[in-house]
Every structure is written in structure tokens, then in C-alpha cells.
């Protein structure tokens, strides 16, 4: 039982990170149909900026703020300088642009920061908390709590605010959105800024557990993307469910089956789910009338 709980704790912590990355994917995808493969870079920027700011003597809360702002600015620049000028290009073209952006940002980080791994002190100590025999780091609760807060805020944003609806409308039909008076370029820019912020927050929360370096983005983007698809692309709740599920699968795979093939476990389950539910677990069935 303690063992089981331990795997759960591990899965949920790692899963929460994937979930936050998946959420970032979801937001930009919702607004613009772009799968932003630079999403992992926002996580990296969040973590690395905080590390370097605190190392420079900036108090943690301010460093966190700086990091989130930095990511948001980069998100905005990414939209204004790379996505917006390619307006009207096909989704694949935009995806390749985001891949280019992720290479660019990684290249930038290796110059601005360095190529070392870095860590942050945990927000509330390193003493594990004993839950039914499982030993869980306090930072795990920060990560999970952060994920919960963000997803609730986003849910409210998309379902309760006009701007949120405008984001969804822009995704559903860009032409129609423009015709009802939505400034689509602003909306898409907003979505980049928003998901950059979420990415950065994720990066800051997890760095004390997972460490960070200039090139952690790729793998996070990959897992986050898989998680988003497992949950059903475009659905924030799906992103969370998908992320946690991938995390749990990895943990239980490693714990009960084989640590060598634990990633395989996650992907086999994803493939299996998609075969049965081609729109992901919580994906809206696409209504395309002929």
C-alpha cells in the first residue's frame, strides 16, 4: 500500500508538470490551431530565469515575477515576430516555425544562461511528508496545487468570459471571428502570452524537483503534446487528465512492470486509447457536416 501511494505521488507530481505543459499547448491551439512546439521552452525560461535571478541576489518572489514576465514577453515576441507575419500560412508551416523558434530559444538560452544543470531550493523545505507510508516532498504539493489553480482559472476564462469565448471563436472560424469584430491578431497574441506564463509557472514550480537546464524543453514538449492529445486536444480539463495519466502510467509502469520500458507503457496506452476514442478521452467529437 505504501508502495502504491509512493508510485501515485511520483506519478501525480511528474504528471502535473506534463499537465501544465499540455495546458499551454491547449490554449494556443484553441486560439490558433497551432501546435506550439516551443511550449517546452517557456518551461525552461521560467526555471532558468528564476535560477539566475536568485543567483544574482534577487529575492525568490521577485525572481519568480521576473521569470514569468520574461516568458510572457518572449511569448508575445514569438507571436508578433514569427507567427503573425506568417498569417495565412498552413498549420504545418506554423508548426515548423514553432520548431524553429524552439531551436532558436534553446540556442539563445545556452548563450544567455549556460549549459549546466541548475536547481532551486524547495519553496517549503525538503523534509518529506509521510502519507500512509509514502514519502512525498512538500514541493509536490506546490506543483499539484499550482496545476489545480491554473486549470480552474482557465476553465473560468474560457467558459465565463467574453474574451475567453473570443479565443474559442477565433480557433473555430477565423473568418467569422473577424466578421463579428474580434481582433484575431490580439486574441492569438494573448493566447501566446497566456501559455508562456503558464509554461513559466510550471518551470518555476518543478525546478526544485526536476532540475532545469537549457535543453529540458524538447522532452517536456513531447510528453506535454502526447498528454494533450490523450486528454483530447483543445480541452483544458483533458489536458490535465492526460498529463496526470501519463505521469501515473510512467510511475506505475516503472514500479510494477519494467523501468526500462516505462515510457513505452505510456505510449502504448495512448495508442490504445486513441484506437478506441479517436478524439482523446475528453475531446469534443468534431462536428463536421457534409
Amino acid at each position: 500500500m505504501a508502495e502504491f501511494l509512493q508510485f501515485c505521488a511520483s506519478g501525480l507530481t511528474v504528471g502535473a508538470v506534463y499537465a501544465l505543459v499540455a495546458l499551454g499547448f491547449t490554449i494556443i491551439y484553441n486560439a490558433s490551431d497551432v501546435v506550439n512546439f516551443a511550449q517546452g521552452e517557456f518551461v525552461m525560461i521560467g526555471g532558468m530565469t528564476t535560477v539566475f535571478a536568485t543567483a544574482a541576489g534577487v529575492p525568490l518572489p521577485i525572481a519568480v515575477l521576473i521569470a514569468i514576465l520574461a516568458a510572457m514577453v518572449i511569448g508575445l515576441l514569438l507571436h508578433r515576430l514569427a507567427i503573425e507575419p506568417a498569417r495565412g500560412a498552413s498549420p504545418v508551416t506554423l508548426i515548423i516555425i514553432t520548431i524553429g523558434a524552439s531551436i532558436f530559444l534553446r540556442g539563445l538560452a545556452q548563450i544567455v544562461f549556460d549549459k549546466q544543470f541548475h536547481s532551486l531550493p524547495a519553496f517549503s523545505g525538503d523534509t518529506p511528508i509521510n502519507i500512509g507510508g509514502a514519502l512525498v516532498l512538500p514541493q509536490s504539493f506546490w506543483v499539484l496545487g499550482g496545476a489545480v489553480v491554473i486549470v480552474i482559472a482557465l476553465w473560468a476564462f474560457f467558459n465565463r468570459t467574453v474574451t475567453g469565448k473570443a479565443v474559442l471563436a477565433t480557433a473555430a472560424n477565423r473568418l467569422a471571428a473577424r466578421l463579428v469584430g474580434i481582433n484575431t491578431s490580439f486574441v492569438i497574441g494573448l493566447s501566446f502570452v497566456l501559455s508562456a506564463a503558464i509554461g513559466a509557472i510550471a518551470g518555476i514550480l518543478v525546478t526544485p524537483i526536476t532540475l532545469t537546464s537549457y535543453d529540458i524543453g524538447t522532452l517536456l514538449a513531447l510528453k506535454g503534446f502526447a498528454a494533450a492529445m490523450l486528454g483530447g486536444m483543445g480541452n483544458p480539463i483533458g489536458a490535465i487528465v492526460g498529463g496526470l495519466l501519463v505521469g501515473l502510467l510512467e510511475a506505475f509502469g516503472a514500479g510494477y512492470i519494467s523501468s526500462t520500458y516505462k515510457d513505452a507503457m505510456a505510449f502504448i496506452v495512448i495508442l490504445g486509447v486513441l484506437f478506441v476514442m479517436p478524439g482523446g478521452l475528453l475531446g469534443r467529437a468534431s462536428v463536421e457536416r457534409v
Binding site: S10, F117, P128, L211, D215, A251
Partner: protein, 358 residues
């Protein structure tokens, strides 16, 4: 030509950048240094250096480029075993001496005419660890290894030699090179009866996370790391969790703690001071491998007195009593590494610093 061209292809970015980065910096630093002091055989050295990002195919292309396009006469480089092995045929075909900076024993076993290496082999690291265990009466262990090239290869070597030391491996877990949490694997090890110690072959950030998770789960048997984490940044990353961790490593890490009569002392202190002053980063044994490789090559060139690759190769093979950061090197036609177990020191982390275990 009035300059001597030597080449290198390193993993300065990518998954093995923590190897390639200090290696590259070391080479550039010392080539400058050598040139400032009059060069080799009266000629200036010219270093051509490429970043293969640990990709074997790129490494292979750069190897061809070094030989065909740049016309180098010798090569120091290859941060990872995969990249090294991909380059080997090019240099063997071209007859260019190649000193690799990668770990695995396959690079020099079997011996290849033009291929040498400076880092201790993973097999030696296993032997050193098991030797220490034997001394402490440990015979039943668990293993958790990275699935990257380094971890995987060392795991294999350890399995191979465990029997020689009467060591039994009861648990054998792995983790991916970029994994962020190893508590499930460690929980399994923790739950395995009779384990007296755990070994963690691997490099990069993985071992630091393993170490942290190890303490998080309150596992109280000794934890052995490998020479793959032999840099100060491991202690920084693992923090307090690193206390008590043991690992085999070169003298470089404990330069200041070596007895004054140790022949390696001047070499390692010299390198350490220079590296840390120039780069502002803590020294690692990886950069040291590059230093050793470059110096072995330079001395061979001096002895050969020519720029003929074949002559240089012969002289490299004749390296005797060279004192580097990794130990004393005595090469021969059968041994293109030239280090023995004595080159390794068993270290333990105490109060956030390395100490030598006797």
C-alpha cells in the same frame, strides 16, 4: 604550412553537453596557452572544433570534414562512445591519430591502430566500486542505471565483473536520461530484501535526482555513484542529499586535498586553477580528459619532431609516465589507454565537499 592543424568534434550541445562543454573550453584554453608559449616544434597550433551534439551521424560527417577539408594531422575529441565509434573508421582509414574522450572500453578493446583514449573505462570504475564494497563487507547490492550510452555500458561492465568480487546484484532498475523522478524505481529497490548498497551508473542530471529521491525515501544503505558525476555541480544539484555518497574519480576533484608529495598534485592544481579562473565554472574531470588528450598529443608531436600523422601515432603509443589529471599514463601496443586502477581515488562527499577514502 606554418601552423599545425589539430581537430576535434565534441558534444558541446545536446544531451552530453556537460561533457563536451568543459572539454571544448579546455582545448581552446590550452591551445591558446601553448601558442602563447611558442607553439609546438616552433609552429603555432590551429584548433578546428565542431559541435556534433552527441549525434553519431554528425560526428561522422565532421570527422570526414576534419580529414578531407580541414586537413588536420591529429584529433582529440569524441565526447560520447557513440560519436567516437562513428568516427573511428574515418580516422583509421585516413591514418590520423585519434584520442577519444569517451568512456566505454570498446573504444580501445580490441586495440585499433590509430585510436587512443584518456578517460578511465567504465569497467575500471565498476572494479573500483566493488573493491571498496568488498573492503566494507558488502556483497548484495541493487543497481539503478541510466539508459543513456554511459549508464547502459557501465551497467553491463558491472554485471560482468561483479562475480569477480563476490557481489550479487539483487535489483536492477533503470531510468531514462531525462527522467525527472526516480522514486518508483528506488521504492522497488528499497522493498528488495537484503540489499546492502546501491550503485548508480549514469551521468547528467539523473544521478542528482536519484540521490535526492534516495534521501527522500529514507533509504539508509550506502549509495555509490560513478565517475560520470565527477564534478562539483553534482554536489550543488543533489544538495544535502549528496552527503555520504561515494564514487570513484580522478585526483583532479580533490586537488587541494592531495598530499604534497603526490606526483599528480602540481598537474591537477595547475589545471584546476587555470580552468576555474578562465571559465568561472567549477572544474570537472571531463575537461581534465581533454587536457590529458591534448598534452599526450603535444608531447608525442614534440618527440616525433614532425607533422607526420603516422610518426605521431607511434609516439603516442610510446607514451610512458605521463602524468595527467586522470592519473599516470603508460601506453603500449596492447594498451591504448595506459591507466590502471590506481588512477582512481575512492571519494566520499562530506559537508558538501569531496574527501578521499582510504
Amino acid at each position: 604550412a606554418d601552423t599545425i592543424k589539430i581537430g576535434s568534434s565534441l558534444s558541446m550541445t545536446g544531451p552530453a553537453s556537460f561533457l563536451g562543454d568543459p572539454e571544448g573550453k579546455t582545448l581552446e584554453m590550452y591551445v591558446e596557452d601553448i601558442n602563447a608559449n611558442g607553439g609546438v616544434n616552433g609552429k603555432q597550433l590551429e584548433l578546428v572544433i565542431y559541435d556534433d551534439a552527441a549525434d553519431a551521424n554528425s560526428a561522422r560527417t565532421f570527422a570526414t570534414r576534419l580529414v578531407e577539408d580541414d586537413g588536420v594531422i591529429a584529433v582529440v575529441g569524441g565526447s560520447t562512445t557513440g560519436a567516437t565509434m562513428a568516427m573511428v573508421p574515418v580516422f583509421e582509414d585516413a591514418g590520423i591519430p585519434f584520442i577519444s574522450l569517451a568512456g566505454a572500453v570498446v573504444i580501445i578493446d580490441p586495440v585499433k591502430e590509430f585510436v587512443f583514449k584518456t578517460p578511465h573505462t567504465d569497467r575500471m570504475a565498476c572494479e573500483k566500486i566493488f573493491e571498496d564494497m568488498q573492503k566494507n563487507g558488502i556483497s548484495k547490492i541493487g543497481m539503478i542505471s541510466g539508459t543513456g550510452g554511459f549508464g547502459k555500458s557501465m551497467r553491463g561492465q558491472c554485471m560482468d565483473v561483479a562475480g569477480n568480487y563476490g557481489i550479487e546484484i539483487l535489483a536492477d532498475e533503470t531510468y531514462g536520461p531525462k527522467d525527472a523522478d526516480m522514486t518508483p524505481q528506488l521504492t522497488k529497490i528499497k522493498g528488495t530484501d537484503g540489499i546492502q548498497a546501491v550503485v548508480n551508473p549514469g551521468f547528467g542530471q539523473g544521478p542528482a535526482i536519484v540521490t535526492r529521491n534516495y534521501r527522500q525515501l529514507g533509504i539508509d544503505v550506502p549509495l555509490y555513484q560513478s565517475h560520470g558525476v565527477a564534478s562539483k555541480s553534482f554536489i550543488d544539484l543533489a544538495g544535502e542529499a549528496a552527503e555520504g555518497v561515494r564514487l570513484p574519480a580522478a585526483a583532479l576533484l580533490v586537488a587541494d586535498k592531495l598530499p604534497d608529495d603526490d606526483p599528480q598534485k602540481p598537474v591537477v592544481t595547475g589545471y584546476k586553477t587555470k580552468y576555474e579562473e578562465t571559465t568561472g565554472e567549477p572544474v570537472s574531470t571531463f575537461g581534465g580528459h581533454a587536457y590529458d588528450g591534448l598534452m599526450i598529443l603535444v608531447e608525442a608531436m614534440k618527440r616525433a619532431g614532425s607533422e607526420d600523422p603516422a610518426a605521431i601515432r607511434d609516439e603516442i603509443e610510446k607514451t610512458q609516465g605521463f602524468i595527467g589529471t586522470g592519473g599516470t599514463v603508460n601506453m603500449s601496443a596492447e594498451d591504448h589507454l595506459g591507466l590502471d586502477l590506481s588512477a582512481f581515488k575512492m571519494l566520499e562527499i562530506k559537508d558538501g565537499d569531496w574527501t578521499i577514502v582510504n
